[in-house]
Assembly symmetry: C2
Homo-oligomer: 268 residues x 2
C-alpha cells in the first residue's frame, strides 16, 4: 500500500510543485518532511505540476519508500496529516491521508481536476489579496460580469484547446473535455471555476486572460468559438498571472480510492 | 477642511499603528506616503492604536498639513485612494477618502468601534490563514461552539471590564458599553465580532481567550458574570494572539461626516 496525501499550499515562495535546479519546490519540502517522519527516503508522485506562484487547496500525492510501491510505518494513518505538517513550513500543510493500492498512480489515475482562479476587482488592491488574486483595478459592472459569464460557457464540452495553450508546448493531443466553466462574483472577488479531464500548459490562465478581454469590452462572448476554431494562440487573451490560480479539486475513480474519506473538505 | 481616509492593512510586518522608536509602524508609512503625494509634511491622526501584528479592514485617520487643521491639494478627493495607495507598500491600502470639518477628530469623535477576531479551528493549520487567524487545533463540536456563543452574550451591556484589561494599564474608568458580541462559524473559521463605545487595553484579545477557555470546557458560560464582577484579570482567560484581530468598523456621528460615502464597503 502507498499513502495518498492531500495537501494545501500557498505557492508564492516556491518555484512550483516539481523539483527544479534553481529555486525551492513543494516536492522538495515533501521529500524532506517524509524522510524526517518515516525515517527513510521516499518517492513522492504528485497529481499535477503547478507553476511558480500557483497555489493549491487540494493537491494529491502518493508517498512510498524510494524505489518501492509501499510505505511501511507504525504511525496510524489518521495521525499522518498533523505529523507531516509539523515537518513542513507554514505555507504547506497536509490535511488528509489514506492508504491506496500499490498500483495507484497519483497522476495517471486522475479522472478530473478543477481549478479556481481569483480576480480582485476594485480600484485599490486589498492588502489581504496580494499574491492571492489577480488585481483588476477597472471596476466592472453587472453587464461586464454577465458577458464574462456568457463567454465562460463557450469553453464547456469536448474541444481542441490549442488556442489556449502556451506556445512551444509539446502536447500531442490538444483535445480536452471541460465539464465546468463557471463564473461568480462574491463582493470584490470574481471567482472562476473550471473542471476538465486534463489541461494544456497555461490553459486556465489563458482562458482567464481571454475572459478578462471580454470583461473589458475588447472581445465579445460570441467571438470565443471562432477563436477556439482558429487554433491560434495569438487570437486568445494574455496569460493571466500565476498568483490567482489554485488547484482546487482532484477526482479519482471510486474503484481506486475510498471516496468517503476523500470527500473530507479541502482547505480552505 | 481635513481629509478623512479609510485604510486597510495586514499588520504582520508592522510594530503596530503608532510610530515607535523600534520597528516600522503603519503611521510612519502614512507619513511618508502623504508627504510624497501632497508635497509637504502632514499630521496623521488615527482612530485607534492597534498593536503589533493586528490587522485592519477599516482604520480611519485624518490628514492635515503639519501644524494646521487643513489640507490643501489640487488632487480630486475621489482620486486620493488610488494615488495614496501607490505610495504605500502592498500590505497597506487607502480605499476611501472624504473631506471632514477642521474640528473633526479621528479618535475623540469615534462613537463606536467594531473588532473581528478570527480563529482557525482544524487539526492542521491552513497555509492561507497563517498570521491571519489564531490556530486552534482541537476540533470543536457544535455544543462547544454553542457554549462559546452563550458566553459571548454575557459581555453585552454596560459593565466594568477590569477583568479583561491588560495588567498595568493606566485607564481610569474601566466601564464600557458593548453593543454587539456575536460568534459565528463559517467552515473552519470561528468569527467573533464585538462592538463597543471603547475598548480597554487587550480587552478583545482577553475576551477571546476567555471564550476559548469556555470552548475547551475549562470554564462554563455561567461563570462569566462572576469573572466580570471579580475585577480580577487573573480569573479571565489568556490573551489571544494579535494575529487573529482585525479593526473591522469605526463609527462617527453623522453630524460630523458624510455617512453615505462612509458606508462604502470596507476591505475585504
Amino acid at each position: 500500500m502507498k499513502l495518498l496525501i492531500r495537501i494545501a499550499y500557498l505557492g508564492t515562495a516556491y518555484c512550483g510543485y516539481q523539483v527544479q535546479p534553481n529555486g525551492v519546490s513543494i516536492q522538495q519540502m515533501l521529500n524532506r518532511a517524509t524522510e524526517q517522519l518515516f525515517g527513510y527516503p521516499c518517492d513522492i508522485v504528485g497529481c499535477s505540476r503547478t507553476d511558480s506562484g500557483v497555489h493549491a487547496n487540494s493537491f494529491c500525492a502518493t508517498v512510498a519508500q524510494r524505489g518501492t510501491d509501499a510505505l511501511v510505518t507504525e504511525i496510524p494513518v489518521e495521525r499522518v496529516p498533523q505529523a507531516l505538517s509539523a515537518h513542513l513550513p507554514p505555507d504547506i500543510c497536509v490535511y488528509d491521508a489514506q492508504w491506496v493500492p500499490a498500483n495507484f498512480h497519483a497522476r495517471y489515475d486522475v479522472i478530473e481536476k478543477e481549478y479556481l482562479y481569483r480576480i480582485y476587482n476594485r480600484r485599490v488592491m486589498s492588502p489581504f489579496e496580494v499574491n492571492r488574486a489577480w488585481y483588476l483595478p477597472k471596476e466592472l459592472n453587472e453587464a461586464d460580469v454577465e458577458r464574462m459569464r456568457s463567454a465562460a460557457k463557450q469553453f464547456l464540452g469536448t474541444q481542441d484547446f490549442t488556442s489556449y495553450m502556451a506556445q512551444g508546448s509539446k502536447i500531442v493531443d490538444p483535445v480536452r473535455t471541460v465539464t465546468r466553466s463557471e463564473l461568480t462574483k462574491e463582493g470584490d472577488l470574481i471567482l472562476y471555476r473550471i473542471a476538465a479531464d486534463g489541461f494544456l500548459y497555461h490553459m486556465v490562465r489563458i482562458i482567464v486572460g481571454t475572459l478578462v478581454e471580454v470583461a473589458l469590452g475588447r472581445l465579445d462572448p460570441s467571438e470565443i468559438p471562432e477563436i477556439t476554431k482558429s487554433r491560434n494562440r495569438e487570437r486568445a487573451g494574455l496569460t493571466a498571472p500565476a498568483c490567482g490560480l489554485y488547484l482546487n479539486r482532484v477526482f479519482y475513480s471510486s474503484q481506486k480510492i475510498n471516496r468517503q474519506s476523500f470527500d473530507k473538505p479541502s482547505i480552505p
